[in-house]
Protein backbone atom coordinates (compact mmCIF):
# COMPACT_ATOMS: atom_id res chain seq x y z
CA UNK A 1 0.00 0.00 0.00
CA UNK A 2 2.96 2.27 -0.47
CA UNK A 3 2.17 2.81 -4.11
CA UNK A 4 0.35 5.94 -5.04
CA UNK A 5 -2.46 5.88 -7.57
CA UNK A 6 -0.53 8.19 -9.80
CA UNK A 7 2.20 5.66 -10.49
CA UNK A 8 1.19 3.24 -13.21
CA UNK A 9 1.71 -0.37 -12.26
CA UNK A 10 2.36 -2.71 -15.17
CA UNK A 11 1.24 -5.64 -13.05
CA UNK A 12 -2.16 -4.17 -12.34
CA UNK A 13 -3.29 -4.39 -15.95
CA UNK A 14 -2.22 -8.03 -16.12
CA UNK A 15 -4.04 -8.91 -12.91
CA UNK A 16 -7.18 -7.20 -14.08
CA UNK A 17 -6.99 -8.93 -17.44
CA UNK A 18 -6.58 -12.27 -15.67
CA UNK A 19 -9.53 -11.54 -13.42
CA UNK A 20 -11.65 -10.61 -16.40
CA UNK A 21 -10.65 -13.75 -18.27
CA UNK A 22 -11.49 -15.96 -15.31
CA UNK A 23 -14.80 -14.27 -14.59
CA UNK A 24 -15.78 -14.55 -18.24
CA UNK A 25 -15.82 -18.33 -18.07
CA UNK A 26 -19.43 -19.58 -17.96
CA UNK A 27 -18.77 -21.92 -15.04
CA UNK A 28 -17.40 -19.19 -12.80
CA UNK A 29 -19.83 -17.49 -10.46
CA UNK A 30 -17.31 -15.22 -8.85
CA UNK A 31 -13.75 -14.93 -7.69
CA UNK A 32 -13.00 -15.88 -4.14
CA UNK A 33 -10.29 -15.25 -1.65
CA UNK A 34 -9.45 -18.88 -1.11
CA UNK A 35 -9.32 -20.57 2.22
CA UNK A 36 -7.80 -17.73 4.19
CA UNK A 37 -8.59 -14.92 1.81
CA UNK A 38 -4.94 -14.94 0.86
CA UNK A 39 -5.51 -15.20 -2.88
CA UNK A 40 -5.64 -11.52 -3.63
CA UNK A 41 -3.60 -8.81 -5.24
CA UNK A 42 -2.98 -5.47 -3.68
CA UNK A 43 -3.22 -2.84 -6.32
CA UNK A 44 -2.27 0.78 -6.21
CA UNK A 45 -5.03 3.09 -5.21
CA UNK A 46 -5.89 1.10 -2.11
CA UNK A 47 -7.64 -1.52 -4.16
CA UNK A 48 -7.57 -5.18 -3.42
CA UNK A 49 -8.48 -7.61 -6.16
CA UNK A 50 -9.64 -10.81 -4.54
CA UNK A 51 -9.23 -14.10 -6.33
CA UNK A 52 -6.12 -13.59 -8.42
CA UNK A 53 -2.56 -13.53 -7.20
CA UNK A 54 0.37 -13.18 -9.54
CA UNK A 55 3.61 -13.96 -7.81
CA UNK A 56 7.12 -13.15 -8.78
CA UNK A 57 8.26 -14.40 -12.18
CA UNK A 58 8.57 -18.16 -11.96
CA UNK A 59 5.97 -18.48 -9.25
CA UNK A 60 2.62 -19.90 -10.21
CA UNK A 61 -0.39 -17.68 -10.69
CA UNK A 62 -3.02 -18.45 -8.07
CA UNK A 63 -6.69 -18.13 -8.74
CA UNK A 64 -9.58 -19.05 -6.47
CA UNK A 65 -13.10 -19.30 -7.77
CA UNK A 66 -16.62 -20.28 -6.87
CA UNK A 67 -17.98 -22.47 -9.63
CA UNK A 68 -21.50 -23.16 -10.74
CA UNK A 69 -22.75 -26.56 -9.66
CA UNK A 70 -23.85 -29.09 -12.21
CA UNK A 71 -20.86 -29.39 -14.46
CA UNK A 72 -17.63 -31.29 -14.06
CA UNK A 73 -15.05 -29.32 -12.18
CA UNK A 74 -11.94 -30.79 -13.87
CA UNK A 75 -12.98 -29.54 -17.25
CA UNK A 76 -13.75 -26.05 -15.99
CA UNK A 77 -10.45 -25.98 -14.12
CA UNK A 78 -8.53 -27.06 -17.21
CA UNK A 79 -10.19 -24.37 -19.26
CA UNK A 80 -9.48 -21.73 -16.63
CA UNK A 81 -5.90 -22.85 -16.43
CA UNK A 82 -5.56 -22.58 -20.20
CA UNK A 83 -7.19 -19.15 -20.23
CA UNK A 84 -4.85 -17.85 -17.55
CA UNK A 85 -1.77 -19.44 -19.06
CA UNK A 86 -2.59 -17.80 -22.37
CA UNK A 87 -2.23 -14.41 -20.76
CA UNK A 88 0.61 -15.25 -18.45
CA UNK A 89 2.56 -18.40 -19.35
CA UNK A 90 3.51 -20.65 -16.49
CA UNK A 91 1.89 -22.85 -13.92
CA UNK A 92 -1.51 -21.89 -12.55
CA UNK A 93 -2.75 -22.99 -9.15
CA UNK A 94 -6.51 -23.22 -9.13
CA UNK A 95 -8.58 -23.38 -5.96
CA UNK A 96 -12.24 -24.24 -6.15
CA UNK A 97 -13.47 -22.67 -2.92
CA UNK A 98 -17.10 -23.49 -3.25
CA UNK A 99 -19.85 -24.27 -5.66
CA UNK A 100 -22.96 -22.19 -6.05
CA UNK A 101 -26.17 -24.12 -6.18
CA UNK A 102 -29.07 -23.30 -8.32
CA UNK A 103 -32.08 -23.31 -5.96
CA UNK A 104 -34.06 -25.07 -8.67
CA UNK A 105 -31.80 -28.09 -8.47
CA UNK A 106 -32.95 -31.11 -6.50
CA UNK A 107 -31.62 -30.89 -3.02
CA UNK A 108 -31.80 -27.11 -2.96
CA UNK A 109 -33.43 -27.41 0.41
CA UNK A 110 -35.17 -29.96 2.61
CA UNK A 111 -38.54 -29.53 0.91
Amino acid sequence: MTDTPARPDPGAALVEALAAAVTAHPAVVRLDGGRFGAVATHLPGRRRLVGVRVGEPGEPVEIAVVLRAGRPIPQAVAELRAAVAALRPGPVDVTVSDIALDPALPGGGPS
Binding site: R35, P60, V61, L67, A69, R71, P72, I73, P74, Q75, V77, A78, E79, R81, A82, A83, A85, A86, P91, V92, D93, V94, T95, V96, S97, D98, I99, L101, P103, L105, P106, G107, G108, G109, P110
Partner: protein
Protein backbone atom coordinates in the same frame (compact mmCIF):
# COMPACT_ATOMS: atom_id res chain seq x y z
CA UNK B 1 -22.54 -51.87 4.77
CA UNK B 2 -19.05 -52.59 3.75
CA UNK B 3 -19.55 -54.18 0.40
CA UNK B 4 -16.83 -53.35 -2.01
CA UNK B 5 -17.88 -50.70 -4.42
CA UNK B 6 -16.45 -51.02 -7.87
CA UNK B 7 -14.36 -48.04 -8.80
CA UNK B 8 -16.75 -46.37 -11.14
CA UNK B 9 -14.60 -44.00 -13.03
CA UNK B 10 -17.02 -42.31 -15.32
CA UNK B 11 -15.33 -41.16 -18.41
CA UNK B 12 -16.06 -37.56 -18.99
CA UNK B 13 -17.51 -37.35 -22.45
CA UNK B 14 -17.74 -33.61 -22.36
CA UNK B 15 -16.16 -32.12 -25.39
CA UNK B 16 -13.42 -29.67 -24.80
CA UNK B 17 -14.51 -26.40 -26.17
CA UNK B 18 -12.50 -24.14 -28.39
CA UNK B 19 -9.23 -25.92 -28.06
CA UNK B 20 -7.83 -23.79 -25.33
CA UNK B 21 -8.31 -26.66 -22.92
CA UNK B 22 -6.42 -29.01 -25.14
CA UNK B 23 -3.19 -27.78 -23.68
CA UNK B 24 -4.17 -29.01 -20.23
CA UNK B 25 -3.02 -32.52 -19.50
CA UNK B 26 -6.19 -33.16 -17.57
CA UNK B 27 -8.50 -31.76 -20.18
CA UNK B 28 -10.08 -34.78 -21.76
CA UNK B 29 -9.12 -37.43 -19.30
CA UNK B 30 -11.19 -38.47 -16.33
CA UNK B 31 -7.99 -38.63 -14.33
CA UNK B 32 -7.30 -36.89 -11.10
CA UNK B 33 -7.34 -33.14 -11.34
CA UNK B 34 -5.64 -32.54 -8.08
CA UNK B 35 -2.35 -33.96 -9.14
CA UNK B 36 0.52 -31.76 -9.98
CA UNK B 37 0.65 -31.65 -13.73
CA UNK B 38 3.50 -29.22 -13.92
CA UNK B 39 0.96 -26.60 -14.86
CA UNK B 40 -0.10 -25.93 -11.33
CA UNK B 41 -2.06 -27.49 -8.54
CA UNK B 42 -5.81 -27.76 -8.29
CA UNK B 43 -7.37 -27.52 -4.87
CA UNK B 44 -10.97 -28.43 -4.32
CA UNK B 45 -12.41 -27.21 -1.05
CA UNK B 46 -14.15 -29.65 1.27
CA UNK B 47 -17.40 -27.72 1.07
CA UNK B 48 -17.51 -28.42 -2.65
CA UNK B 49 -17.37 -32.14 -2.05
CA UNK B 50 -19.83 -31.80 0.82
CA UNK B 51 -22.42 -30.10 -1.31
CA UNK B 52 -22.08 -32.48 -4.22
CA UNK B 53 -22.33 -35.50 -1.93
CA UNK B 54 -25.32 -34.04 -0.09
CA UNK B 55 -27.20 -33.35 -3.29
CA UNK B 56 -26.37 -36.76 -4.73
CA UNK B 57 -27.60 -38.50 -1.58
CA UNK B 58 -30.86 -36.56 -1.56
CA UNK B 59 -31.52 -37.48 -5.15
CA UNK B 60 -32.23 -41.03 -4.12
CA UNK B 61 -35.86 -41.55 -3.31
CA UNK B 62 -36.25 -43.01 0.12
CA UNK B 63 -33.82 -40.59 1.69
CA UNK B 64 -36.06 -38.45 3.86
CA UNK B 65 -33.48 -36.14 5.38
CA UNK B 66 -29.81 -35.82 6.06
CA UNK B 67 -28.08 -35.45 9.34
CA UNK B 68 -28.49 -36.56 12.89
CA UNK B 69 -31.03 -35.02 15.19
CA UNK B 70 -28.69 -32.32 16.38
CA UNK B 71 -27.32 -31.27 13.03
CA UNK B 72 -30.81 -31.24 11.58
CA UNK B 73 -31.94 -28.92 14.33
CA UNK B 74 -28.97 -26.65 13.76
CA UNK B 75 -29.53 -26.78 10.04
CA UNK B 76 -33.08 -25.59 10.51
CA UNK B 77 -31.83 -22.68 12.58
CA UNK B 78 -28.97 -21.89 10.24
CA UNK B 79 -31.29 -21.61 7.29
CA UNK B 80 -33.07 -18.76 9.01
CA UNK B 81 -29.89 -16.85 9.61
CA UNK B 82 -28.98 -14.44 6.82
CA UNK B 83 -25.77 -15.66 5.32
CA UNK B 84 -26.33 -19.15 6.59
CA UNK B 85 -27.88 -19.71 3.23
CA UNK B 86 -29.49 -22.73 1.77
CA UNK B 87 -26.04 -24.20 1.38
CA UNK B 88 -26.10 -25.11 5.03
CA UNK B 89 -29.02 -27.40 4.41
CA UNK B 90 -27.13 -29.20 1.71
CA UNK B 91 -24.17 -30.10 3.84
CA UNK B 92 -26.10 -31.28 6.89
CA UNK B 93 -25.18 -34.83 7.63
CA UNK B 94 -22.21 -34.85 5.29
CA UNK B 95 -18.67 -35.01 6.57
CA UNK B 96 -15.82 -35.25 4.14
CA UNK B 97 -12.12 -35.59 4.14
CA UNK B 98 -10.55 -34.29 0.99
CA UNK B 99 -6.99 -34.96 0.03
CA UNK B 100 -5.00 -34.19 -3.06
CA UNK B 101 -6.46 -37.01 -5.09
CA UNK B 102 -8.96 -38.78 -2.91
CA UNK B 103 -11.99 -38.07 -0.81
CA UNK B 104 -13.70 -39.99 1.97
CA UNK B 105 -17.31 -39.26 2.76
CA UNK B 106 -19.47 -39.97 5.82
CA UNK B 107 -23.21 -39.55 5.52
CA UNK B 108 -25.91 -39.45 8.19
CA UNK B 109 -29.27 -40.11 6.67
CA UNK B 110 -32.86 -40.52 7.76
CA UNK B 111 -34.71 -43.02 5.61
CA UNK B 112 -38.36 -43.22 4.70
CA UNK B 113 -40.26 -46.08 6.20
CA UNK B 114 -40.83 -48.69 3.56
CA UNK B 115 -37.49 -48.47 1.84
CA UNK B 116 -35.06 -51.32 1.98
CA UNK B 117 -32.25 -49.73 3.91
CA UNK B 118 -29.69 -52.04 2.46
CA UNK B 119 -30.71 -51.26 -1.10
CA UNK B 120 -31.11 -47.61 -0.29
CA UNK B 121 -27.63 -47.36 1.16
CA UNK B 122 -26.22 -49.08 -1.88
CA UNK B 123 -28.03 -46.69 -4.20
CA UNK B 124 -26.94 -43.67 -2.18
CA UNK B 125 -23.36 -44.84 -2.16
CA UNK B 126 -23.36 -45.46 -5.89
CA UNK B 127 -24.88 -42.08 -6.68
CA UNK B 128 -22.57 -40.20 -4.35
CA UNK B 129 -19.49 -41.88 -5.75
CA UNK B 130 -20.57 -41.24 -9.32
CA UNK B 131 -21.42 -37.62 -8.63
CA UNK B 132 -18.30 -36.75 -6.69
CA UNK B 133 -15.94 -38.58 -9.01
CA UNK B 134 -17.39 -37.13 -12.17
CA UNK B 135 -17.82 -33.63 -10.82
CA UNK B 136 -14.57 -33.20 -8.96
CA UNK B 137 -12.26 -35.78 -10.46
CA UNK B 138 -11.35 -36.96 -6.98
CA UNK B 139 -11.31 -40.66 -6.29
CA UNK B 140 -13.84 -41.56 -3.63
CA UNK B 141 -12.22 -44.19 -1.45
CA UNK B 142 -15.13 -44.76 0.89
CA UNK B 143 -18.67 -43.68 1.62
CA UNK B 144 -19.79 -44.57 5.09
CA UNK B 145 -23.50 -44.35 5.60
CA UNK B 146 -25.11 -44.12 9.01
CA UNK B 147 -28.86 -44.49 9.08
CA UNK B 148 -29.87 -42.42 12.07
CA UNK B 149 -33.59 -42.59 11.98
CA UNK B 150 -36.54 -43.79 10.06
CA UNK B 151 -39.32 -41.49 9.10
CA UNK B 152 -42.86 -42.75 9.55
CA UNK B 153 -45.30 -41.01 7.24
CA UNK B 154 -48.25 -41.05 9.61
CA UNK B 155 -46.40 -38.86 12.06
CA UNK B 156 -46.58 -35.93 9.67
CA UNK B 157 -49.68 -36.21 7.67
CA UNK B 158 -52.30 -38.92 7.47
CA UNK B 159 -52.56 -38.32 3.73
CA UNK B 160 -49.04 -39.60 3.28
CA UNK B 161 -50.15 -43.07 4.25
CA UNK B 162 -50.36 -45.56 1.46
CA UNK B 163 -53.90 -45.84 0.24
CA UNK B 164 -55.65 -48.69 1.99
CA UNK B 165 -56.55 -51.61 -0.18
CA UNK B 166 -60.24 -51.19 -0.71
CA UNK B 167 -61.18 -54.61 -1.78
CA UNK B 168 -59.53 -57.50 -3.41
CA UNK B 169 -62.50 -58.71 -5.35
CA UNK B 170 -65.56 -57.17 -6.75
Amino acid sequence: MTEATPPTTTTSTATTRGGGAATGATAGSPARVAEDTGQGRTTIAASVVQKIAGIAAREISGVYAMGGGVSRAFGAIRERIPGGGTGAANIAGVQVEVGEKQAAIDLDIVVEYGASIRELARAVRRNVITAVESMTGLEVIEVNIAVNDIHLPELDNPEDLPAPVVSRVE
